[in-house]
């Protein structure tokens, strides 16, 4: 009896293993409910419902300094002010004056135009009182031969990497602080190239290991030889790019990025047949550049697109997720962004506003500033190409 029960249990266990393979479908003959129909439609942005707004972020959020020497890229220089250094070191409870023997200022090249050689980086000493109200003209006046700390040649073979500048001996006098400086070192960076229109990116304070560093080495008068050698290292207190005043972009265009960093808001009117019951398979946002997008050769940047939680114009609340992005290169033609998941948030019983916000992925940190046509342009208004499946009755008989 037990043997039979065991056999039965084994037989049941074996029979319960189910492999789920498939029968070939021969649609529409075998497919109940028929085959889904797929349609395509194009929506143009709501006339006047697309604009650019700025003031969302500041230069302090930059991860790079785009330095350029004019031409298509424009003039672009950078100012870095380090944290106060002081001139003494505390060992135990006692303060010792530091006898400085060397200073290192390190900047990091992140990316450069490799099609042109003989690039140079000029570093200038600037007043420690300098701040972001500094104009291009004022900075240009300060970048004199007398204020130049050093000019370094960037090897043609170098695509990126750190450039530590060591100052010793008589050069240390270039780092003497005036009382007004309060031991704050400020420097200016300028790219020099044999022809205009050349650019390079250097690390800013938000770039992690590529951030500029100011090191002061020296000795103090203590008996313990292990403590005689001291280092004062200071990070960036403030850094910002300085450019000539940009040519204003007309409100009839959509600026993304730039100086100041702008973001575009584009509204669409989703028809009822899409809003209610269609299944959106793919939605592609098409943006037409009004003018060539410039950057250094090999450059690229990112455009981020978000849906809106609430549409309050410039103060709209973006939805962090879902989001979409695309990478663009200099000279890009029509930009296409896949925004299917975003457009799907416009559907359903509680739809979100039918609007998209386009933001530069590297605000303040890129030469590439796309300027797109709007609904006020003669052509090339933002478009949304939607591929969808209308609802179909799936009774299934």
């Amino acid at each position: 009896m037990r043997r039979f029960l065991l056999l039965a249990a084994v037989a049941l266990a074996a029979a319960a293993c189910t492999e789920r393979l498939t029968t070939p479908g021969n649609c529409p003959a075998l497919c109940p409910g028929g085959e889904p129909e797929v349609r395509d439609t194009v929506l143009t942005a709501v006339p006047g419902g697309d604009s650019s707004f700025s003031g969302y972020s500041s230069f302090t959020e930059a991860s790079s300094f785009p330095l350029a020497n004019g031409g298509a890229l424009g003039e672009s220089r950078a100012v870095i002010r380090f944290i106060q250094r002081g001139d003494s070191v505390i060992v135990g409870a006692e303060s010792f004056e530091l006898a400085i023997d060397s200073i290192i200022v390190r900047v990091v090249l992140q990316e450069r135009d490799t099609t042109v050689g003989n690039l140079q980086l000029a570093i200038y000493r600037l007043p420690g009182t300098i701040d972001s109200t500094l104009t291009w003209t004022e900075l240009d006046a300060l970048m004199t031969e007398a204020n130049r700390l050093r000019t370094i040649s960037i090897p043609d073979s170098a695509r990126s990497g750190p450039f530590p500048l060591l100052f010793t001996g008589a050069e240390l006098s270039k780092f003497d602080f005036a009382p007004a400086d309060s031991s704050r070192l400020a420097i200016g960076l300028r790219l020099i190239a044999p022809q205009p229109g050349i650019g390079a990116y250097f690390g800013a304070s938000r770039s992690g290991d590529a951030a500029p560093v100011f090191q002061t080495w020296g000795t103090i008068a203590v008996d313990d030889t292990a403590q005689q050698r001291q280092l004062l290292q200071r990070a960036v207190a403030q850094n910002f790019p300085v450019r000539p005043a940009p040519t204003p972009v007309t409100d009839d265009l959509l600026l993304v990025g730039g100086d100041p960093a702008s973001r575009a808001l584009i509204r669409f009117a989703l028809p009822d047949f899409l809003r209610d019951s269609a299944t959106i398979l793919r939605a592609t946002l098409e943006l037409t550049p009004d003018r060539p997008i410039v950057g250094i050769p090999g450059d690229s940047t990112r455009l981020d697109v978000n849906a809106l939680f609430a549409d309050f114009g410039a103060k709209s609340v973006p939805l962090n997720s879902p989001a979409s992005l695309t990478w663009i290169k200099p000279g890009a033609d029509t930009i296409r962004l896949e925004v299917t998941q975003l457009v799907r948030t416009w559907q359903g019983a509680t739809p979100l506003p039918a609007a998209l916000r386009i933001r530069h992925g590297f605000e303040w940190s890129s030469f590439m500033t796309p300027i797109f046509r709007s609904t006020r342009s003669a052509s090339g208004a933002p478009r949304l190409r939607i591929t969808y499946r209308p609802p179909f009755a799936l009774e299934g008989f």
């Binding site: 266990a13 029979a15 029968t23 070939p24 479908g25 649609c27 075998l30 109940p32 008989f397």
Partner: protein
């Protein structure tokens, strides 16, 4: 013994919750592939003895043949190869098509039974590959259309034994169930999001049946059954969407045992599935047609003292299937079977086995060949002990 039986039952029911299922392509249209309401011993003769089988739900009068309680479960494992104009594929399916509890009412000539069986099985998945060009560029797509669930037949039956000669029975049927039907499309280009549309279809209907078994002589018995099922109300996603008239069934059978070692049986059943045609077509189906089923088989008893111990059962059946896959000829099914069984624990426990070779066709385009293995587990006399 009782503990072991309970463990066996628990293993059976536990397994039932784990398995998936996928039915024949012939179950993709209409209400699906009709169930047969047969116990495994009747499947061993390809249904030829179904009208005399107390464990089957076919004939309520057969309950009167019971002399002790019967609890039975059956499981079916099917391996099939399907072919249609889109290609061929292999599928495997596990079902539990029948649970029955029945027995005589003590100190009376009545027997009562309840059983739960498959009325129509619509558990399928069809997968096809092709291309679509939503923006003018061809993109490979994979479509899958499927359904899970089916229609079940819950029967309560009462039988009366008139002097061990004539057995009369009546049954009432509650037909209920649901299908989750879905259609999916996946794109080779990931910029297109996959789509899924689904619907839940729920069914509710009733039916009545009556049957008779007559022992004309110790060697000869005949049986008959009539059943009428009413309209099946169909709801889609909780909204009434239509109704389907279910068929009337008329069946007759004979069992002849010319010698103690062998018994022959056969039956014919006709079902008026064309009553369902209007409803099926109105709901987007193709068509429903009347069906006739003919089955013949024999049982050969090796042990005359214990004839239920490893008998040999064989049978053949030819039947029509009610729901057309495409317009044209009516689907047909041909099955041959072999089976056996044994009793153990002084006849309390029972196992029945049946192996069927089934071929289903509609014209030349849609064919299917299947091996179907059925296992029945039964307990006799447990409820009355």
């Amino acid at each position: 013994m009782r503990t072991a039986s309970v463990l066996l039952l628990a293993a059976l029911l536990g397994g039932a919750s784990l398995v998936g299922a996928q039915s024949s392509q012939f179950g993709s249209r209409g209400l699906g592939l009709p169930g047969r309401g047969l116990s495994v011993d009747a499947l061993g003769t390809e249904g030829a003895t179904g009208l005399f089988s107390s464990g089957s739900s076919l004939n309520p009068a057969a309950l009167g043949l019971l002399n002790s309680s019967l609890t039975s479960f059956s499981t079916i494992q099917e391996w099939r190869t399907s072919e249609n104009p889109a290609g061929s594929g292999s599928t495997r399916e596990q079902r539990f098509p029948m649970i029955a509890i029945a027995g005589p009412i003590p100190r009376s000539n009545f027997s009562v039974g309840v059983n739960y069986s498959t009325y129509a099985n619509r558990d399928f998945l069809l997968v096809s590959e092709g291309t679509a060009a939503p923006r003018g560029e061809p993109i490979a797509v994979t479509d899958s259309v499927g359904s899970t669930g089916g229609l079940s037949d819950f029967q309560v039956a009462l039988a009366y034994n008139l002097r061990d000669k004539v057995y009369l029975g009546v049954g009432v049927h509650l037909l209920t169930g649901s299908n989750r039907v879905f259609s999916n499309r996946a794109w080779a280009d990931s910029t297109y999001l996959p789509t899924r549309q689904s619907a839940e279809l729920t069914y509710l209907g009733t039916g009545v049946s009556a049957g008779v078994v007559v022992r004309l002589s110790p060697a000869l018995a005949i049986a008959g059954m009539a059943r009428y099922d009413g309209a099946l109300d169909v709801e889609r996603d909780s909204a009434a969407t239509g109704s389907i008239d279910l068929p009337a069934t008329l069946a007759g059978g004979v069992r002849w045992q010319p010698s103690p070692r062998v018994a022959f049986a056969g039956h014919v059943a006709a079902r008026t599935w064309s009553r369902a045609d209007d409803g099926i077509v109105a709901l987007g189906g193709v068509a429903a047609r009347n069906t006739i089923e003919v089955a013949a088989g024999l049982e050969w008893y090796r042990n005359l003292r214990r004839p239920e111990q490893l008998p040999l059962r064989v049978g053949i059946r030819r039947s029509e299937l009610p729901f057309l896959l495409v317009q044209g000829s009516q689907p047909r099914e041909l099955g041959v079977s072999i089976g056996t069984g044994l009793r153990f624990a002084r006849g309390i426990g029972g196992l029945d086995l049946a192996l069927e070779r089934i071929r289903r066709t509609q014209g030349d385009d849609y064919t299917e060949s299947a091996w179907q293995f059925s296992l029945g587990v039964s307990l006799r006399g447990v409820l009355s002990n």
